[in-house]
């Protein structure tokens, strides 16, 4: 079960990809263990602009990582500040839009155009483990990232961390 610092209720059960880690959906930082526990609203005490989320150690981002959080309709729910810079869009303009408006598989032949979607939907539905796929920003050629994809919570969702 959850070994998260602030003991957020783990609503997505046991994880087969290691212990759960808390991080901010905006700045990516872990909650400060010495500070008071985050309130019911889980607002990050470092940046005030993100909510504390959970993912397994294997997929959870580092503070500098660009990442997106996507729900089971493929709609963007959160965009880290690094991803805002990388994709050139503010989180406020990106939420509720389809992941496909921002990222697409980089190797359509190798992975099949559906694989990014399948992996994200699988993770949002609760599939354990961490998957990897090559992606590129929509409309940008010559820029590719390896994306690691896994479950995210506390509300069931998928995190897509872009590795540069």
């Amino acid at each position: 079960m959850s070994a998260s610092i602030h003991g957020l209720p783990s609503r997505f059960g046991d994880h087969d990809a290691g212990e759960l880690r808390d991080f901010c959906g905006h700045c990516g930082q872990a909650p400060d263990p010495s500070s008071a526990p985050v309130g019911a609203t889980r607002v990050c005490q470092h940046c005030d602009l993100g909510l504390v989320l959970q993912a397994s150690e294997a997929v959870a981002p580092s503070p500098e990582d660009p990442f997106l959080v996507v729900d089971n309709r493929m709609a963007i729910c959160a965009l880290s500040s690094a991803a805002e810079k990388l994709l050139g869009v503010d989180e406020t303009a990106a939420v509720n839009r389809h992941l496909g408006e921002f990222l697409m598989p980089a190797d359509a032949n190798a992975n099949g155009s559906g694989s990014l979607i399948e992996l994200v939907l699988g993770a949002a539905a609760g599939d354990g483990g961490v998957e990897r796929v090559r992606v590129r920003p929509l409309g940008v050629f010559g820029v590719r990232f390896s994306a690691r994809i896994g479950r995210c919570g506390p509300t069931p969702s998928a995190i897509v961390v872009l590795e540069r």
């Binding site: 889980r42 005030d48 602009l49 959160a78 939420v95 995210c152 509300t155 969702s157």
Partner: protein, 294 residues
Amino acid sequence: MRTLKTREAAAMLSVSPNTLRAWERRFNYPRPQRTPGQHRVYVHAEVAALRDALQAGLSISSAVSRAREALSGDTSVLVGALSSYELDRADAAMEAAIALRSVERGVEEVLLPSLEEIAARWGTDSASWALSARWADGWLRWAHKLAPAPTRPMTIVIGDATADPLEPEAIAVRAFELFCVRSGARVLTLPVRRLVDVGEVVTAFGPQAIVLAGEGVGDTEVARWAYQVRLAVGPMPVMLYRRATDGDGVRSTSALPDAPYDAHRQALSAAEPAPERRTAAGGRFTRETARSLA
């Protein structure tokens, strides 16, 4: 309508007042109103909707989006009532809307968007639109009558240049007028086509600012009216509301924003009785202005 002080709203969301201000800048939500003393007050329903949305939220942006959705239910109810010509139900929808918000927010977030929706569905030349616009005009006038007596030493003259009380611009002008009155200003609205003795009437009210509103009447007539007013009461800020600028330097610097709430704040600020006040919204009304309008 229940409101919360900054400290109370922050406590309800388990954040600090600074965080609340940071959210206002980034998300424009929750959007506080200002008391006459310029203190922020938050609408309880907005803060409560955000608190609920944050519980299961994955980001503050998505929670804000959900909270807005939860509050926008009133718009679909009002559109439904107007679309089925049930005006009592439309009254009830507005009553419910302002139970959760201020009158200003109810008008901007429910009444005006609902009318936009009606206009988009049937066109403003339809009888459905006319029925809805007449209802909205009546509702705004009713709210105007219920507004408290003026509390500010300030009168704004609105030169009503709309052609038809049922045109969309006219509804926005009524909303602007209502917001000014509810902010404690005295408002005198006169149709720009009534020129005879306009100077006498305006002088009796001693206004601090003029707003030329709507574009249903041409520049020449508006300029004549404005000139008569200027002759009677002397130089003062002149602003345009829902009236297209024509590239003229004076006119382009004095346009108020389209949203009636923002427009009324700018107009009040320009009309504050400070002798040399000059704001982005209000150019100084001089003989040159009158000439440029003529």
